[in-house]
Symmetry: C2
Subunit: 393 residues, 2 copies
Amino acid sequence: MAATDRGDLTRTAILALLGTVGPLSRTEIARELDLSPATVTQLTKALMAAGMLEELDLQPSRGGRPAQRLGLLGSAGRALGVKVTAEHLVIVEVRLDGDVLGSWETPFDPSSPDALGDLSEAVADVLGQMPPLLGVGVCVPGSVDDQAVGTVNAPTLGWQAMPVGDRLRRRLKLPVLLENDVNALAVAERLYGRGRTHRDFLVLTIGRGVGAAIVADGRVYRGARGGAGEFGHVPVAVDGPLCGCGVYGCLEAVVGAAGLVASARERGLHVTTVDELGALASSDATAREVFTEAGTILGRTTAGLINVVDPEVVVVLGEGTANWPYWQRGFDTAVRHQLMPGRRDIEIEVESWDDTSWAQGAAALVLATPFDTEGAAGEQGRMVRARLIGATP
Amino acid sequence: MAATDRGDLTRTAILALLGTVGPLSRTEIARELDLSPATVTQLTKALMAAGMLEELDLQPSRGGRPAQRLGLLGSAGRALGVKVTAEHLVIVEVRLDGDVLGSWETPFDPSSPDALGDLSEAVADVLGQMPPLLGVGVCVPGSVDDQAVGTVNAPTLGWQAMPVGDRLRRRLKLPVLLENDVNALAVAERLYGRGRTHRDFLVLTIGRGVGAAIVADGRVYRGARGGAGEFGHVPVAVDGPLCGCGVYGCLEAVVGAAGLVASARERGLHVTTVDELGALASSDATAREVFTEAGTILGRTTAGLINVVDPEVVVVLGEGTANWPYWQRGFDTAVRHQLMPGRRDIEIEVESWDDTSWAQGAAALVLATPFDTEGAAGEQGRMVRARLIGATP
DNA sequence: GGGACTAACTTTACCAATAAAGAAAGTGAG
DNA sequence: CTCACTTTCTTTATTGGTAAAGTTAGTCCC
C-alpha cells in the first residue's frame, strides 16, 4: 500500500510472528511475512538494538550456512477478548502465542438501559487486576457496521446502531476492536488454526444460531456493510418455521438450537434443550434421527456454499459440535452427494470447542492486527501496533 | 505490495484510467487510483515527456486553482476477447474505452482432436487483419486452474486440464489471459459497469447455464482452485432433475435453459428452445408460469447468496435476460421475501445483453490488468502493461 | 482593487522495501 | 586439504511512493 504510512506494521508483524509461532530464523521470517531477506535483516537489527529481540541458537546446517534463530525478549503481548450474548459476558485473557491466561464470566442484560455502561464496567473490573495489554476485542452475534467506530447491529441482543466501540474506548483508554462473532472465530482460525496453512476456507458454526465466515485470499470477507456470512438465513424450506429474523424457512430456524428442539417435540420427544436431546440420542433412535436430519439439511446447504465459494477446507465450530457425531451421519452423505464432482475431496474438520472459544476469537482480533497488511483495522489497529512496539522493554 | 517490482503498474494505470474514462485532472487521477497528488505530478510529468500524455483545457475553478485536464496522446490500447462455447467462437476487438471495434464468429468443435490448434488459428486469422494490440483474453464455461499458465477444466466443452493459455501464447506471441466466463463478465462490470462505483457486488448470469461471480473488496474472487461462483450447482430440490454435473437438483438443472424447456414440456407446451418459450409467453399463461416459477426459485436461491455475501448490488446478465420480464414476477417477490430485513433495499439490476457480451468480458480481462494492483494476473499482466507503455508513440 | 479563502498542483526531504551482488559458514566429494 | 556447492545473511544502490510545506491561480466579498 503506502510507502511511509504503514507505520510499524512490518516491525510489529515480526514481533507478533515470533510471539505466535516461537523462534524463527531470518529467512523463515522473510518467507512467512512475504518480505525480502534484506528487509528482515534490517528490521531485526533495529529490533535487537531496541532490546526486543535476541539471537538464540544456530540451527544445524542443511547444506549451507546454518540458520540463526531469533527469539522474542521480554513480555509478549496480551489481549482481552469479550463475547457478548443475550445472557452473559465471557471474558478471556490471551497471550500472543494463543495461551489463555484466565477467563471470567458475568451475567449481562443487553436490554438494560445502561447496557453499555454495564459492559464497560465488567471489562474494566477484569482489567483492574492486570498489567497493561495490547487491546480489547469484542465479538457480538450481529454485524458491525463501521469497524473503525464499532457500531453494532444485533437483533439477538436488541441492539441497533449501538456505539459499543466508542463507549468502551472512552472508558478503558485502550484500543477496542469489534467484530461479528463468527468472523472473529475465523480470525482466530487464521492466526492459530487451519488458516496458518490455508488462504481460502470456510468457518461454519452451529449452536443457538448458525453462521459462516468466508476467508478469501487470507482475509475475512466482511461484505458491503459488514454483514457477510449470514449463512443461518439461507432459505432451506419453502414453508419452514418462522425464523428470528422474521422470514420463514431459514436454515437457522430449522437446524439451530430452537429448530432442533421443536423438531424433536414434533416427534413426541419431551426435551426442552439441545443438551437434553443430545443426552437422549445415545439411547434413543428418534433423537438421533433429529440430528441426522438436521445434518442432512446443513450438509446440503453447505455443499451449495462450497460450490459457490470453492474453499480449501471447512472448519466446523460452535456449541453444537458437542453432538457432532449425531449430525455427521446426515451431514457427510448430504455434502458428498451435493458437491460438484472434483470438490468431493474437500476437507471438513470439526474442531474442539469450549465455553471460552468465542471470547478467544474476540481476543484474536487484537492479536492479529500486527499481521493485517491491508490496514483494515484502521486507527485501532495502528494503536495496537504502537502498544506492541512500545510495551516490550 | 513491493517497492520496486510493481513495474510500470502505476504508470500504466494512469494511461489505462485516462483511456477508459477520458481526460481527468491530476487530482482526479490521484483520487481514482488511490495515490498521492505528488506521485501523480511526478508520473504524469514523465509520461508527458515520453509523449504519451498532453495537457488539455482548464476546468473552470471551483473556488481554487482550476484543474488542468490531462488526456491520452496517440492510440489507446486495444485487446481481443474470445468466448469459447461448445458450438462456436465469438471474437471481439475492444478499445480501452470499451468501444467494440469489430466482432467475428466462427463454428468451433471443442471435442476435435486439435481443438486448441483450431482455436489458435481462428484467433490468428483475426489478428492478421489488425495492428498489434495489448493482448488476448479468453473466457471459457469452466474453471481456470492456474491463471498464469491458463489450464482449463470445462466439462461443458469436454476439456480437462487443457493447456489453452500455453498453446495460444506460443502461436500468437501475445499475452493471453484466461478466465471463467462469468468471472470475466465481472471484470468487465468492474471496469465499465457497476463496479466503477461499487466494491462489493454480485454478477448473476442466466442462460444455458446459471452462474455467479463474487466481487469482494473490488476484486473478483476466484476461490481456492479458481472454481468460485458455481452458483448453478447450489442444490434447490431434493429430488430434482439430473444436472450436467452429475448431481440431482442443482439450480442450473431447474432454471437453466434445459430445465426451463423440460418444465414447459411437462406442462404440455410443445417447445424445444427457450426462445420459443419466450415467444410463447407473450400470449400463453402457462409459458409465463414456467418463467415465473423459475424466477421464484432463482430468487429464493439468490436471496440466500445475498444473505451470505452481503453485496451492495446484484447485476443480472446472460442470454436469459431476454425473457427477464417474465422471470421478474417470481424473482422479485421471492428475493424480497427471503432476504433478511435490512437488506431488502438491495439494488438488483438487469443490464443489456448481446451476443458479443461474453467476448467483451474476455477482452476486459486484458484491459483491466493495468488496474490490477495485486498483480494477480502475474507474468501475463506484466507483459500487457509493458505493451501499453511501449505502444504509445 | 485588495485581502481572505480555496483548490490544484509542485517541490523537497525522507522512508520502506527491494534487487543484486557478495560475504559467511557450513556440507560433501575427490 | 581443497574445491564446488548450498544456504543464510548482509551491504549497497535504487525505486516507488509519501508527507509536509510551499506555489499557483483562481473565487468571493467588502
